[in-house]
Amino acid sequence: MTETEVLATTPGLFPLPDWAKEELSDLKGHQKDDLIAGDETGAVVDAYERARREVVERQEAAGLARIVEGQLRWDDMIAHPLCVHDSVETRGIVRYYDNNNFYREPVVRGELTFDGDVAAELDAAPGATQAVLPGPYSLFDLATDEYYGDDAEFLAAVADFLAGEVEALPDVETLFLLEPSLVENPPGDGLDARASEAIDRVAAAARNGCGATAGDGSQATAGDGSQATAGDGSQATAGDGPGDGAGDSERPDVVVHTYWGAIPEKPYAHLMDADVDAIGFDFVADHERNLYNIQEYGTKSSIALGVVDGQNTLVETPAEIAERVDWVRENVPAQSFERIYATVNTELYYLPYSKFEAKLDALAGVATQEVDA
């Protein structure tokens, strides 16, 4: 049995520091036409830069194992990468899952070509070691298609788009793909397999492209869409990673993080076909059904455990967090993990800034706790 590494991290989407909430609402305004379109300049860029630096430093001070950029510009939450795209029109304000939060409905009206918004954002955060993106199924679920005309084609286009964005990312150690829609609006027959293939496509891009420099052998396959097609993608890349010494040390862990409950069994079984390093589970919202999925269908060699509540101001102690991690390990005796990502279950922007900070500190404190191996 190899020794398990416990890494404290978050799924990103942080609250703005209070000064930035005020400064940016004065600079940008309060209406839907005032939200980020990806073309901001001057004082707005400057305010986001200062806020980004602050949250990166705050994570470092807390001692988290992975540092995210914070996604402070994501006015439309995980729909952001589409809402800033030139081929996308944003319409009315719609409810964000079952929350008292709203985002602009992104309506895709043209080809989803490469954008680079998220890569540029991460480039501007030199301390960041973890990238965060919506998973293809959730982004597909939150958007409206008026161009591709067919669910399967649209989902594939969203996956290709995200794959392109991932390939442009700077070097990171971990990539979190947020997939709450797998729980909140799970894919039915047929779509469940395609959702898994779409995730596989984006994960393959991370292995082949993300952080790769010119001349790196692994990059040659990056642009080759055929490699990631259903069925063969996982096989080809699975053999590829460990065998390729140069690519292996560079490639990020890909974590597909789910939350607000548990994925139904069938889509979970399909998700297990995707070649990712870890699946993330929300042990705050539903520990029983998540545990059932893991016991029944197994999980990947690493795992992400949502053990801190991103939607409640009650701050967990490091001991409580460690206890929750242990509880999962004790209940999955058949499996040992390479890495356990101890994380907040959801995005963190739901919290007031002071409580957000307290949660980062508590989460980082899990590293000093006695986590039973």
């Binding site: 609250p15 703005l16 209070d18 909430k21 940016l24 609402s25 940008k28 305004g29 309060h30 209406q31 839907k32 005032d34 939200l35 006015d75 304000i93 409810r95 079952d98 929350n99 008292n100 939060n101 709203f102 985002y103 939607q311 409640n312 101001t313 009650l314 922007y349 739901y350 919290l351 007031p352 800034y353 002071s354 409580k355």
Partner: protein, 353 residues
């Protein structure tokens, strides 16, 4: 409570009402604040200014008087003070309830934030919430006054819960506090209370919790006191017909926004309560003409007869420019009066109860 055994509505008919038919006209509650009131709040919050709490109180009184008068001039049968003293529908109450604390603003959307409070201890009744507001408003108008109260389910759902086992448990404790407040309001002379539960739109499957909360709230309330429930911007088919079992006289529903697409929901099974029908859209600054509003009012007769129809905007008017808000109310009242006259003249065929 079965369908209105006691008529709680006739008491609101104005003494000189010109027609035999009476369509009760009112508003949901909130109204745009005069700009100077927002300025006064800023000054009161700024330590560099010599603007005392007494000054702010005077400004709030002035605003409440002004908006109550504006409602009266629009011709409403039952008025509200436009909720001038309430900054936000959850914060206002949380500040007055023991067990709550505030930790800073959280995002609703874009750069719109609210100070979402945390429940850190058992909630307890501390100071009266709305009795002063009600007494002041009653003192500056000759019309009956309705008191809107944020419902316990919304107060619970839109707070962080650090203390209770569940949102449900918190909601029931809060419902007991609302019951205490209603009791005090009734002692002060209030005869019309509206419980606002916008959170039900997000989690419609929790309608049974809202129903149980209303049982707590209605407990001991005299039978001549009119109780209403306001819900908005949700899929009503998920709460109907179950809501008919709730102990209220009236449901106040947003329906103009969706162009009455959901009206059919309430026709089967038969709607047994009074209907406060939203007849103007609060999310467009386009003022509906009197003719349009009359058309909307007539849609209400597909669900209830005239003697059970209340005429109201979809929701609070507070996000509209003030002139637009006023004109919407004025057109709404004129439309109701014209429909009443047409009903008297037998020009509108309706089934009578």
């Amino acid at each position: 409570m079965t369908a209105n055994l006691v008529d709680t509505r006739e008491q609101f008919r104005p003494p000189e009402h010109p027609t035999e038919h009476f369509l009760l006209t009112t508003v949901v509650g909130s109204y745009p604040k005069p700009k100077w009131l927002n300025r006064a709040r800023e000054l009161a919050d700024d330590p560099a200014h010599d603007f005392s709490d007494d000054h702010l109180r005077e400004a709030l009184d002035d605003a409440a008087r002004l908006i109550t008068d504006e409602h009266e001039r629009a011709g409403l049968d039952v008025v509200v003070d436009g909720e001038m003293r309430r900054n936000e529908m959850v914060e206002y109450f949380a500040h007055r309830i023991d067990g709550y604390e505030f930790n800073g603003p959280v995002k609703v959307w874009g750069h719109n934030y609210f100070d979402k409070p945390s429940v850190v201890d058992a909630v307890r009744y501390d100071e009266p919430w709305l009795v002063d507001e009600f007494e002041f408003t009653t003192g500056v108008t000759t019309r009956p006054v309705k008191v809107p109260i944020t419902g316990p389910y919304t107060l619970a759902s839109w707070s962080f819960n650090e203390h209770y086992e569940s949102v449900e448990a918190l909601a029931y404790d809060l419902a007991d506090l609302v019951n205490e407040e209603v009791d005090r309001l009734v002692d002060a002379g209030c005869r019309y209370v509206q419980i606002d539960e916008p959170a039900l739109a997000t989690t419609p499957d929790d309608h049974a919790i809202v129903g149980e909360c209303l049982e707590h709230i209605a407990d001991g309330v005299p039978e001549n006191v009119r109780l209403g429930l306001h819900v908005c911007y949700g899929d009503y088919s998920r709460i109907y017909p179950e809501i008919l079992d709730m102990p209220v006289h009236e449901f106040d529903l947003e329906l103009a926004n969706g162009d009455y697409e959901q009206l059919d929901v309430f026709t089967d099974p038969e709607f047994t309560k009074d209907l406060a029908l939203g007849v103007v859209d609060v999310h467009t600054s386009n003022v509906e003409s009197v003719a349009e509003v009359k058309e909307n009012i007539r849609r209400g007769f597909e669900v209830v007869p005239p003697e059970r129809l209340t005429v109201s905007p979809d929701c609070g008017l507070k996000l509209l420019p003030r002139q637009v808000a006023f004109q919407k109310m004025a057109n709404m009242v004129q439309a109701a009066r014209e429909v009443e006259a047409e009903l008297d003249a037998g020009e509108i065929p309706v089934e009578t109860a």
